[in-house]
């Protein structure tokens, strides 16, 4: 009975170690700015297959940031007119 309990506990610990949990964001200072990062947890799985990825891409919804109510003010005529070539230098 005791050996069985130990076996169950060990199996449970091994299984738990294979299950990925969402990584916590962490902060670091880069230059004089703070950045927040996330790291992908190590998993045993190799991820979605090609057809699943294509399905996800097809059915995904485009993201858009939620703008504040204020509309940025754009002064008119503050830049050179666009050109039709691929030279965008001033």
């Amino acid at each position: 009975m005791c050996a069985k309990a130990v076996l169950i506990a060990m199996t449970s610990m091994m299984m738990t170690s294979f299950v990925a949990s969402a990584a916590e964001p962490y902060q670091a200072k880069v230059g004089d700015q703070l950045v927040t990062s996330v790291t992908r947890p190590v998993t045993r799985g190799i991820g979605l297959g090609r057809e699943d990825l294509l399905q996800a891409a097809r059915t995904s919804r485009p993201l858009q940031a939620v703008p504040s109510n204020a509309v940025p003010d754009i002064p008119s005529g503050n830049s050179a007119p666009p050109n039709s070539s691929n030279d965008d230098r001033r």
Partner: protein
Amino acid sequence: MRYTSGSVLAIAVIWSSTAISREVPVDGSTSGYVRYSSESRIMAMETSLNRKGATSNRLSRPTVRLVQNNSDLSSIGNPAIAPLKWAGLLVNTDAFEKDGKKWSVNCTGQFITERVVLTAAHCIQNDETGAFFDLNKMYFLLQYQYNEFSQAYRPICASRFDGWRSSGNAHLQWDYAMILMDGPSLTGYYNVAVDWQGKFSGATATGYPGALLGGTVIERAHGELLSISDVPNEFALKHGQAKFTQGSSGGAWVANFGNKVDADHNIIVSVTSIGMPKKPGLSFGPYLTSDFKRLLEYVGNGCPH
């Protein structure tokens, strides 16, 4: 049938009703991850779209045909050549749940070094909840076009400046993020310019706006760069294309857009952050400063604690 860039011809796709449906829940299956290592796969893809069962995995493909003088489609870019071969679709699978279904969300991204992909900050972090999207469910599909891609990448880490979560319009200048990928770009990467004001007057916005062909093709829209008077380090791009909105988030604004691969062409000056219904035909994006390069170095080193 073969098509080439620079042609006056544009490509139209006759999708089946299921192909364009956006009402299908995402299958969370984890079977059979496939990595495509051939650099020329996208070229093969371009030429084999009309062949049935041409590949080993026997994907069903939409029928492709060429049409002439369709202004709606003239902005479609060619991901087989520079610079769009360095771009792709960033997909956050199972990003949210609604009505008992799991939904994925997408943005645009592009390689700016061999291993680092640039996108918008709101593409790695839920803008409304503040939660980061699960990197374990994030994929970057290089050269995504017409239900194909050349290679799928998974993130190692992702970072963005904390200024993105500050209040007011000033946070818009921080709407960019970088993702270290699990493998090198097989096609190359963009140049990037920081502190470029006075050097460029225009740029070409790129991305996968959902309003055109359901976000299945990468678009390009050239326009004038305009400074914003009341938001620091923010620019607008006046490209005039009202449909260039959702889905193009994170897509590069490219100065000197063209198929030449050198230091003078294909220079990223910003990425699409937001669009506004009150200002159709305009996209807004951050002005990149020296902070950008510092973040790039940090992410390239694996986002150390």
